[in-house]
Symmetry: C2
Subunit: 235 residues, 2 copies
């Protein structure tokens, strides 16, 4: 039985069940565990001595929230994260997560449409954490991300993407060729159909799925080692 790759709709259903009585989780809990998994995966691949400066790119949805949690944990791990969040989310949780980063003295790039500001931040960045678009992404890519994605790509910096590389179709992958090309991918809960042919290092995070949900959705999750919040997927 092999690991299941999810449609966008199934990913959404699992998310809903995790927060319904079948899981009973709060969004605060799920984001905390997702974000810590992303931070751990980045730390596993990119040593903080060689890659201290992480640009954490956050979208306006839950994916961006995972990014903010990851930024905070990366700060605790001894990295120097900077947040790029040109379109802040309006949800209360998003603002609390941002305030937690502010309290940790994590810098945020001032919101601006000037591409030079992003390029300037990239010039002192060692690795990018891409938490812009998640499993509910439906194109087209709107401003300011339409211009930001090519700038991130052009930097040729290593990229760690969360769940689905930004710009990819969730089920069909980088069909339009406009998406980021990450070196590392952190799939949350279970990988999405669009990343079936992803060739980089691929981690799974989200070690919180009750067995009943795993069975219901026939996820066939791999075993996580020890007390880690991530497991690396091998071909």
């Amino acid at each position: 039985m092999s690991l299941k790759y999810l449609t966008s709709r199934t990913a959404q259903q699992i998310d809903e069940e995790l927060m319904s009585s079948a899981g009973a989780f709060s969004l605060d809990q799920l984001m905390e565990l997702a974000g810590i998994a992303c931070a751990q995966a980045l730390a596993r691949v990119y040593d903080k001595k060689k890659y201290p400066n992480v640009l954490v790119c956050c979208g306006p949805g839950n994916q961006g929230g995972d990014g903010l949690v990851a930024a905070r944990h990366l700060g605790m791990f001894g990295y120097r994260p900077t947040i790029y969040m040109p379109k802040p989310g309006s949800k209360d949780i998003y603002q609390r997560l941002k305030l937690q980063c502010d309290n940790m003295k994590i810098k945020t790039i001032p919101p601006s449409n000037d591409p030079e500001i992003l390029r300037d931040a990239l010039s002192s960045t060692n690795v990018i954490l891409d938490a812009i678009f998640g499993f509910s992404f439906k194109g087209p890519i709107r401003a300011p991300f339409d211009s930001a994605l090519p700038i991130l790509s052009d930097s040729r910096l290593p990229i760690v993407s969360v769940d689905i590389p930004s710009g990819w179709h969730v089920e069909e992958g980088n069909v339009e060729g406009v998406g980021l090309r990450p070196d590392v991918l952190v799939s949350l809960t279970a990988p999405k159909l669009g990343v079936r042919s992803f060739g980089g290092r691929h981690f799974l995070g989200g070690r919180f799925i009750p067995k009943s949900l795993e069975e219901k959705f026939e996820l066939n999750l791999p075993e996580y080692p020890g007390s880690d919040q991530i497991v690396e997927l091998k071909e």
Copy 2:
């Protein structure tokens, strides 16, 4: 500069600041991170192959909530936790955390004043996680815990205590001699004055204190290794 040991009052102040604008954390987040630290410390010392059956003893307060989170993560780590929670807390978060454990098919000992039920559970237990009383504990020890603590002690099973071993005075230690005598202690945020002379393996968890709070309270926290949520304290 050595690690600071906290009074009960300072521990409470830090907790309040973490949830005020200085920290901006939700109780859900703090409990999740505290609970995962406790589960990791137990897993570090007691291998799941030799010690699969963990009796997680939960009090009616926030400490019990940490215990429920730890029980869930221990289940994810491959242990077989059982919950002993003779006096369930009434807070909403407590009930959600319990439901999460139920959803993971983690068993709970039926509430009862019959000491045989606890003794029976202990007969198939390999290690006890003590999350009964925390840093706001003020004696005397009331029923049903007055009779439960001696039964736990008499089992001679290894005990991992969270923050302050149950029955100990938070600042003066096991002065009355009625407290548990744990082999392992997981202090959260910073150790409390009462455990200064604790001689077992001592871990620190709660890797979420902003530098500003660490400085304000002169905690002098040690460095956590890698992306771990715990650090072992050495003499």
